[in-house]
């Protein structure tokens, strides 16, 4: 019984760690798509952020510069996406695919040019990463049954970026629903011409939405390479950008719901390795590939309209022309 309890705690703990980049990218996706711009390039931004964070942290020894670098790289990619989609009204899916390719290529090319390690960046030392943080009262609560364990294992002991990510969700929600910027952003995704005729610049709004998204993705990228991991390896984003997109759809483009979707996907990922050697009743051994494919299968089922109908912003994907 106790063993099961601890197993669950560890699984939830791992969930949070896996879900962190997902929820950040999902918030980015929500901001971008709610403003009317399809964003397939979450993956590319995530990868770029990871690369720049690891590179700068390695070269300067400072995690904070690495974080700033990651955010800058991701924002730069977002601006490129904006340049193609907003200023030149190009096809948004095509632009997203292009950015993903660019990220894949550039991260390795530059990585080899700088470090000559076949695309990897050097392993960072403990001081060059975001280390797990022990929250206050951890020791004091140790003696409290159940809660003490939960506090130590699940709540405390994460890196700073995990807490930042958890904060980003309510912040994103607040901005989207309670601020002027959020109202206008949601409006422009429904009807850009209504926003234009109300005297607000559609272009500037959409650029800002993309920039905000870039910041979130940058943090996620930094998390991958200088917090969760200790360096950058090629293609380390491993499809997380697409899973985040799936979470956005699952959450019907709402931050809190997308957050739960991210947790769910994170949970699936976390228990995959655990289930591998376990014989489930009736099913037998569960192939690891099936578990890793579950988020995709679930998204497809959702998109087929079998569990509710997703309702995207009305003007999404259509470039605005006066």
């Amino acid at each position: 019984m106790i063993d099961f309890f601890y197993q669950t705690l560890w699984a939830l703990d791992a969930t949070l760690r896996v879900a962190t980049p997902l929820m950040l990218c999902a918030m980015a996706g929500i901001f971008s798509e709610r403003s009317g711009i399809v964003d397939i390039s979450l993956e590319g931004k995530l990868l770029s952020g990871a690369f720049v964070a690891a590179t700068i942290a390695s070269l300067t020894g400072s995690v904070w510069l690495g974080l700033i670098g990651a955010i800058s790289a991701s924002v730069l990619m977002s601006l490129l996406h904006g340049f193609a989609c907003i200023t030149h009204r190009g096809d948004q899916v095509v632009s997203g695919v292009a950015i993903n390719f660019l990220a894949s290529g550039l991260t390795v090319i530059l990585g080899i040019a700088i470090f000559k390690r076949g695309g990897q960046t050097p392993t960072l030392s403990s001081g060059e990463r975001f280390r797990p943080i022990e929250l206050w009262f951890v020791d004091a609560l140790d003696n409290v049954p159940v809660i003490g364990a939960i506090y130590r294992e699940l709540i405390s002991g994460h890196s700073l970026l995990v807490y930042v990510a958890l904060l980003c969700v309510p912040i994103a929600s607040f901005i989207l629903y309670k601020s002027r910027f959020g109202l206008r952003l949601r409006a422009v995704g429904e009807s850009p011409i209504a926003v234009d005729s109300a005297g607000v610049s559609v272009t500037w709004l959409r650029y800002r939405a993309l920039i905000v998204g870039g910041v979130f993705c940058g943090i996620a990228g930094a998390y991958l390479s200088i917090s969760h991991g200790a360096n950058f390896v090629r293609e380390m984003s491993a499809g997380k950008g697409y899973i985040a997109l799936a979470a956005v759809i699952f959450g019907n483009w709402r931050p809190i719901r997308a957050f739960w979707a991210c947790l769910m996907f994170g949970f699936l990922d976390a228990i995959t390795s655990r289930l591998q050697d376990i014989d489930l009743p009736l099913i037998g051994e569960v192939p690891a590939q099936l578990m890793s494919a579950l988020p995709y299968i679930m998204t497809i089922i959702l998109l087929s309209g079998f569990i509710g109908r997703p309702s995207p912003p009305s003007a999404i994907g259509v470039p605005y022309k006066k």
Binding site: H88, A98, F101, S104, G105, L245, Q289, A293, Y296, L303
Partner: protein
């Protein structure tokens, strides 16, 4: 602003976009400390000049023709099929199935034919589901095909490392396919006529690719089905008004699209590897997007775009070989730039070009 003359729109503008893409890549090459011109030269030599290089280039071209046709077919109905990667991957299952069922009983010609049909059919089936979901349930085909790519990946890993694995092997790959299903390479084929060419993976599936281009042309522009596909792509409401069954057309288009993609497996599995290996699609599916965009969804354009990318891939391998600091990932960068400039920013130079043209025609008129 006057519209551009047709030749400028179809040839000049894409050419300018291409040059821009290469120019930007050249800057990157310069930044990492190599000479862009040298790099370009090496690529060209590696793609066409060195012995066997043309063969390699055309071998890649074959793959891109198939995936380019897949994307282009779907584009004509205004559908974005990003799932070429997965559709090609599972096409190999069709081949394995066909060889298992028919190879023991039938002569080589029939086996090859049936393998081709089966690989197309399985690829088609993999695209059918996203097509069906889009047509009947409104699920966006871009998202579903991305998901299906990942599904294909997971499925193939499971099969190749599990039930289909070649006994005694550690790496995930299937058994060798029987000889009757193996396609002769061009080297062998021409050797029969006494012609000697350098060794390369180029095989008879190249002929199949050229045939596919022709079939695509006839289908889209000469048949009534093609008319309906183009109508749906240009204006779904009008297509509906005209009595065209729009959901049916969407499904059919995606299915045909998947079939083209599935044929890639004919090249890789039957022509080159003679077995199914992990990840043999190696990004060809995504390159198909660039090919279709550059080729403007037209068979002639697709052929030349495929040739371009074939040269790029082969030249990229040479780059990797000759330059220390450049790897094949450079090709990813070039690909991304081409997709960016020929796709998303395709009309960026349109205003500037228009001004140039109107100035030329104005001057021309003034000279009268």
């Amino acid at each position: 602003m006057k519209p551009l003359p047709r030749w400028a729109d179809l040839i000049l503008l894409p050419f300018i976009n291409l040059c821009t893409a290469f120019f930007v890549c050249g800057i990157v090459v310069y930044i990492i400390g190599e000479n862009p011109w040298e790099a370009l030269l090496v690529m060209l030599k590696g793609a066409f000049i060195y012995p066997g290089s043309l063969g390699y280039t055309l071998y890649y071209t074959t793959n891109f023709i198939f995936t380019g046709l897949a994307v282009a077919t779907a584009f004509h109905a205004k559908l974005f099929n990003i799932g070429g990667e997965g559709q090609a991957y599972v096409g190999s299952l069709g081949i394995l199935l066909a060889t298992a069922l028919f190879a023991p009983f039938l002569p080589a010609v029939f086996v090859v034919l049936l393998c081709i049909i089966c690989s197309a059919m399985v690829g088609a089936a993999w695209a059918f589901i996203p097509g069906y979901l889009q047509a009947k349930r409104g699920s966006h085909v871009v998202i579903t095909t991305i998901m299906f790519n990942f599904l294909a990946s997971s499925l193939m890993v499971y099969l190749l490392a599990g039930p289909l694995i070649q006994l005694g092997q550690q790496s995930p790959q299937s058994d060798l396919i029987p000889e009757s299903a193996q396609l002769a390479s061009f080297e062998t084929f021409l050797g029969l006529f006494g012609v000697d060419i350098a060794s390369s993976p180029l095989n008879l599936s190249f002929v199949l690719a050229l045939l596919a281009l022709f079939v695509f042309w006839v289908l889209i522009w000469k048949t009534r089905l093609g008319y309906e596909i183009r109508a749906v792509g240009k204006n779904q409401d009008a297509a509906n008004y005209a009595g065209i069954n729009v959901p049916k057309i969407i499904i059919i288009t995606m299915t045909i699209s998947g079939a083209f993609a599935g044929l890639l497996a004919v090249n890789e599995v039957m022509g080159v590897q003679h077995r199914a290996i992990l990840n043999f699609t190696a990004g060809y599916g995504f390159t198909g997007i660039a090919v279709a965009l550059m080729g403007r969804n037209h068979p002639v354009g697709i052929f030349f775009a495929s040739l371009l990318f074939g040269a790029l891939f082969q030249g990229g391998a040479e780059l990797d070989f000759e330059f220390q600091s450049i790897t094949r990932d450079m090709v990813l960068l070039i690909q991304g730039m081409i997709i960016l400039f020929s796709g998303a920013l395709a009309y960026m130079f349109n205003p500037a070009l228009s001004k140039v043209f109107s100035r030329i025609t104005k001057n021309g008129a003034n000279d009268d």
